[in-house]
């Protein structure tokens, strides 16, 4: 076994290197919507130097299907806001074969994060029972639910403190 390379922070000065003009566009077809959110720190201050990355299957639950990148990346702006244009992901099975509710995997990188933190966007209006969500206490489960908005869904990320987003060890 080779020793893994340790993680380090992305720092404050990555946006000229890691953001792309088409980074936020996962899919812009007729069924697409904007998934938007704000990133907050432990005092509720806006985090204007974070990088959000998203990973998901297409609407039929297929990863890396030809023509569907599945991956989005967007830096937060001066108001801590990020957005990706995408479609509702299809259902993919849990390791035990049960279905999981539609979800998007999210990585958050920022100054002050020595390793990325990982979370999942679920959709509040989904009716599929989800084994990951059901295993969480109700008040924490709420932090993973994207809510309908005028042009899609809203998903805020609270790195620390009150209503702290659930982050996963993967």
């Amino acid at each position: 076994m080779l020793g893994l390379t340790p993680s380090q922070t992305v720092g404050p000065f990555f946006s000229h290197a890691l953001t792309w003009p088409d980074g936020p566009v996962v899919d812009e077809g007729p069924d697409s919507f904007w998934l938007r959110g704000t990133v907050f720190d432990g005092e509720g201050a806006l985090v204007s130097d974070a990088l959000i990355e998203t990973w998901q299957p297409d609407g039929a639950g297929r990863f890396n299907h030809p023509g569907f990148r599945g991956y989005g990346r967007c830096g937060t702006d001066d108001h801590g806001r990020w957005a990706v244009r995408t479609v509702l992901p299809g259902v993919v099975p849990a390791p035990d074969g049960r279905p999981q509710a539609p979800h998007i995997a999210v990585s958050v990188f920022a100054r002050g994060l020595l390793d990325r933190v990982v979370t999942r966007v679920y959709f509040a209006d989904s009716t599929v029972e989800d084994p990951v969500l059901s295993a969480l206490p109700a008040d924490r489960r709420e932090t993973l639910l994207a809510r309908r908005s005028a042009d899609g869904y809203e998903f805020d990320i609270r790195l620390r403190g009150e209503r702290e987003t659930v982050f996963f060890a993967v």
């Binding site: 076994m1 893994l4 340790p6 380090q8 922070t9 991956y71 990325r116």
Partner: protein
């Protein structure tokens, strides 16, 4: 065998709450992370490359009309998984300060000169053996106000994707013998036994005589879980 990836063994990564690095205080989550079994979402990952890397993106010294100032260096190595297998055709992103210790980034206020011939951003795809190679200039150290007279150890930033969501890694490469190691809390946040994995090695064999020195930096991403599963 499981399709899952091996978990990071303890002693690899820096703890998110590392008080010596002040910015962690308000940004590191206070709750322990929730264990997540690997499903298809975690063991798949984006295939990036097509259209992401242009010829010459690996050479940070030829992106402008003139050559950047500084000590020209070659940085090369392999991207492997922890089982020693090459990770071919994967996107490697690099960014760094210029030779004076200043980033070509609008928010960098360090009063050191910008270099009109240096953006400090590079990209490449690994070859079939996991190999990569950049040509750049050695970055300068710079102050960062984390504590009294704080200076970052000289470093390059690397971003890697591997093949799976769980292999994603952002790290920093350091240079051998840097006198700033002992007071850089970002470097020191990594468990001591793993710090050497972030330090490149001087590589005489890869130097180009009369032109550039060279350093080797191998990057190791997570491998597959070797535990047999009962099903």
């Amino acid at each position: 065998m499981s399709t899952a990836y091996a978990r990071d063994p303890g002693g690899t990564h820096p703890p998110l709450a590392s008080p010596g690095y002040r910015s962690t205080l308000l940004r590191a989550p206070s709750q322990p992370p929730v264990w997540l079994e690997h499903s298809l979402t975690e063991v798949t990952g984006p295939v990036l490359g097509e259209g992401r890397v242009l010829p010459g993106d690996h050479d940070l010294t030829t992106q402008h009309a003139g050559e950047p100032l500084g000590e020209r260096i070659i940085v090369h190595g392999r991207v492997l998984d922890s089982d020693g297998r090459a990770v071919p055709d994967t996107l490697v992103e690099l960014w760094q300060a210029n030779a004076a210790g200043r980033y070509a980034h609008v928010r960098d206020q360090h009063p050191a000169p910008l270099d009109p011939h240096f953006t400090g951003v590079g990209r490449c795809l690994t070859d079939s053996a996991g190999g990569y190679r950049f040509v750049t200039v050695k970055p300068g150290a710079y102050p960062w106000r984390n504590h009294e007279n704080a200076w970052r150890a000289t470093h390059l930033h690397f971003s890697l994707f591997g093949r799976a969501f769980v292999q994603r890694l952002v790290t920093q490469m350091y240079f051998p013998g840097d006198p700033l190691f002992g007071q850089d809390p970002i470097f020191l946040a990594v468990p001591e036994a793993a710090r050497h994995r972030m330090i490149c090695a001087f590589d005489l064999s890869a130097t180009v005589p009369d032109w550039a020195l060279a350093y080797r930096f191998d990057i190791v991403l997570r491998g597959r879980d070797q535990t047999p599963t009962e099903t």
